[in-house]
Symmetry: C4
Subunit: 191 residues, 4 copies
């Protein structure tokens, strides 16, 4: 089964997610700068989520490069990832509109953690399908970055109840770790 | 007439449907967990619809693999399926926001039944176009699964007026039947 | 300049237009059938617009088959068509939510007429680019159907002020004329 | 790393941006022409943004023609451009709904200026990646048009505080400059 349509569908869903988030940026009422000021938490959470979804697109883009085939399990593991990604516009708005109150920050982190788990499941299914001696498996390695991300998100959710800004700081930290594109896969491509 | 653009257009519409459903997950007012509790019926109906639309994408993906050509009738049969699928975000929200009251549950089932009928019409038109001795026709067989689904949805709509949870249970059951990807088509592909 | 990306972009915009229209189908408040009854004008206008946009996609699909190249003028003529098509969700909702009152019905017709004019401009630019002795020009012929549609829409807008149902009836009539896919282009393809 | 998927993703996001803008065209309440009159500033700002986004699509379309490869920096420079473009629906609505009051007009101009800067960054990264003796670098030249646009947008934002219509006039002027498709790239293609 070819990977082309899965890639195209995934790109389509990610393109829509990254764009409809902006619909949450409701137009402020009022025509002076003071009308824009209360928007900063919504804007900041939008920027953070745009970068996070951009990172997923980037990594999926690189990862699918070394993928050779997909099966039914991979399709559903991919849809599972898209499901948790599709919740990001809603959890982003929940966090932004409540001005980074602890519970919404934790809910946002739970969503990111589940995206991370879903990404881990997807690469595991692909690893299983491709076997150990393939370009995919070599590029993936032990997926240390993926495991650390899930651990950091879990810690962030818990620490949110101490102080929500610790949670937010960890979300920014994980984004920074991944912002560097996943060179494992691109290194293999260049070889 | 090539099938490429029909596939791409279908994928695009399905990607949009599956993603805009989440726009119905309105951001809760309030910043503690009790603000999230009333969302569970909306969330549950979203999950059910995400899986249902995912199943359609999966089956269309497998089915178009064995399709060799399309004509004007197939284009319109496909648009007819997309029409009923495009109503799913609205019927999902209607069911979720009314906390699975009988009428909204029945309306949701009517939409699913009509999606099933539209899928049956589409495969029938494709069968007609390809003839009996083709990979498509062999993969399709008697389409028992498609016929059973329509029958089960019809039963579910009627039984909703006895107790709506019977209807919901049948929707989950049909999703479970289809969740296993349509191996008829993938079996032929592997041969 | 290749036509591939223009086709893909056009398909993408049309797929989004046809799908976001359904966002105007606001979820009714209330959980019995009487809550659905007031939706019929919105639903009917949605069905009509779904068919109209479906017709445009179908005809663009067939037309681009015989197109060999595009230039800057064609890109803008195409964007012009997409602009008027992108207004259809808004004019559809305006007509449906005002229960087919004369002015909204006329506004809807003005949009359809301008879509028709934009389609005429697009085929004229393509005709100019391809010349007379090409498959495109032969398939297009005198574009009688395109000219008649614009005339009928103009008549419909004017007759709306006599009785709006005359306008609606003409919109249905033009849709019926085009529903038969534009066999001019498909005939050439088959040759 | 191939440019195909970056092009497709970019087209997808731009197609969504250009189409969801129309969702800001809220259906007027009331069924006569006086209900439409207050919409003119919203409609005019929508037309201006549709043309601006159309120009970006057109130029990206021509530019990617001469691009031979992309790397991680280009992907992020492209996402950065898409980010500022994705804010256009919100800034357009802000400007239109406040009837071209000075601050919203300035905010709209800041967004356009940042889109221009992001476009400059993207072509600079691509220039860096391709080197001086390539079709891309020759087509780009000194990118005088890009530099002038950013300067004009900056002037427009400042002059808005003298009179907002000066700002609006400059936005229309820059759109007119770019409306002529970026012949630098298409000239190279034709050679």
């Amino acid at each position: 089964m070819g990977k082309g349509r899965v890639e195209a569908f995934t790109d389509g869903v990610v393109a829509i997610i990254i764009t409809i988030m902006v619909l949450e940026l409701k137009v402020p009422h009022g025509e002076d700068l003071s009308a824009l000021a209360p928007l900063w938490p919504i804007f900041f959470s939008y920027v953070l989520s745009f970068i996070n979804v951009g990172i997923y697109w980037n990594n999926l883009h690189n990862m699918f490069h070394t993928v050779q085939r997909v099966d039914g399990r991979v399709l559903w593991a991919n849809l599972n990832l898209l499901f948790w990604l599709s919740l990001i516009p809603a959890t982003t708005a929940f966090m932004g509109e409540n001005h980074f109150a602890p519970i919404p920050v934790a809910v946002y982190g739970v969503d990111l953690a589940l995206c991370g788990v879903a990404y881990r499941i997807l690469v595991t299914k692909l690893h299983h399908l491709h076997g150990n001696e393939t370009a995919f498996a070599k590029a993936l390695g032990s997926d240390r970055k993926g495991k650390i991300s899930v651990a950091l998100y879990t810690a962030a959710v818990l620490l949110t109840f101490v102080n929500q800004w610790i949670g937010v700081a960890i979300y920014v930290l994980v984004a920074a770790i991944w912002f560097v594109p996943d060179t494992r896969f691109s290194r293999v491509i260049e070889k």
